[in-house]
Symmetry: C2
Subunit: 184 residues, 2 copies
């Protein structure tokens, strides 16, 4: 199943902001749609009036068993009625990251950056889904998606700031921050 995030003229989500966090940004569009499909053309046909990012909600790559149990217990699902704010943060990591071995990446991911442990306290306020994009040949390696209620906006900023300060984030060479609100 392929998930397509299309920035364009129409969509369930209204775009509040599109800002580069590192490297090139994405063109400003007024709306974002999220669709799921079993078939897809890669890369998507270029368009002057929209952009499309495609990912796959794949299996977990770094999480260990006790972490998985804790995450499963703590996390909320997508699509909660009260979660009318969202963020799409596509990131690409540099060659140094991908030339590392799995255990070297894991060591930075969790043992040094505490990505999982430190994220746990933000759940279930912030619902998250990671989409893998690297093997699909797109401009980003990961499309990270977050949903939360307006009253958790500050908590979300804290989570984003925490991740950006981590050692893991030193390997991020491109990052765009798209903020969204659900149309009533």
């Amino acid at each position: 199943m392929f998930t397509t995030f299309r920035g364009g003229q129409t969509g369930t989500w209204r775009v509040l902001s599109i800002a580069p966090a590192r490297g090139d940004t994405l063109p400003i569009m007024p709306a974002l749609s999220v669709t799921h499909a079993d078939s897809i053309a890669l890369p998507p046909a270029p368009s002057a009036h929209s952009w499309r990012l495609i990912g796959v909600a794949s299996h977990l790559r770094y999480t260990e068993r006790l972490e998985k149990i804790a995450l499963t217990k703590a996390q909320a699902g997508l699509g909660r009625a009260e979660a009318t704010r969202a963020a799409l943060i596509p990131i690409r990591k540099n060659n140094a990251w991908w030339l590392m071995t799995q255990n070297e990446r894991r060591r930075i991911f969790e043992d040094k950056s505490r990505h999982i442990a430190d994220s746990l306290k933000y759940l279930p306020a912030i619902a998250r889904q990671l989409y893998h994009s690297r093997d699909l040949g797109g401009p980003f390696d990961f499309l990270t998606w977050f949903e939360y209620a307006p009253e958790h906006a500050e908590v979300f900023e804290e989570l984003v700031a925490m991740l950006r300060e981590s050692e893991e984030w030193q390997f991020v060479e491109r990052e765009v921050d798209v903020r969204l609100a659900k149309e009533d």
Copy 2:
């Protein structure tokens, strides 16, 4: 970059045999072509006269640093003139495998099955390339590709038998064994 293995009427490789090792086989075709492209439609359009399997030569998922060094030192590249025999072995692993965490999979992959260590002695006689297919939505998770000279055919059978006897292989729910020879 997407790699497409097309079983059909024409191709650089003549098909010697197509046999199911576990689960459903693939239709018998006389030839196999291997092509690389930056764009692709997924899934490929169905055809009565050919089948297409698509994968991506991705980063390593389980290998640790010392293993990576040993593998890099030992392995031969694809396309050696003397390597006129090849095998395409697509495999799909079961849900139990994918529900495990990364470290649980690694434990079976190497600590129990010794996939890397035991494979090392077959290099450089057997050149190998792994293509990831799972995130592309195809019928297999991995497309494994091997090239070797005719005089190493027996060594190759030994390698395949060794992998199939491993604990890791208990998680394989579909496997097809395609053997090939290069046209002169």
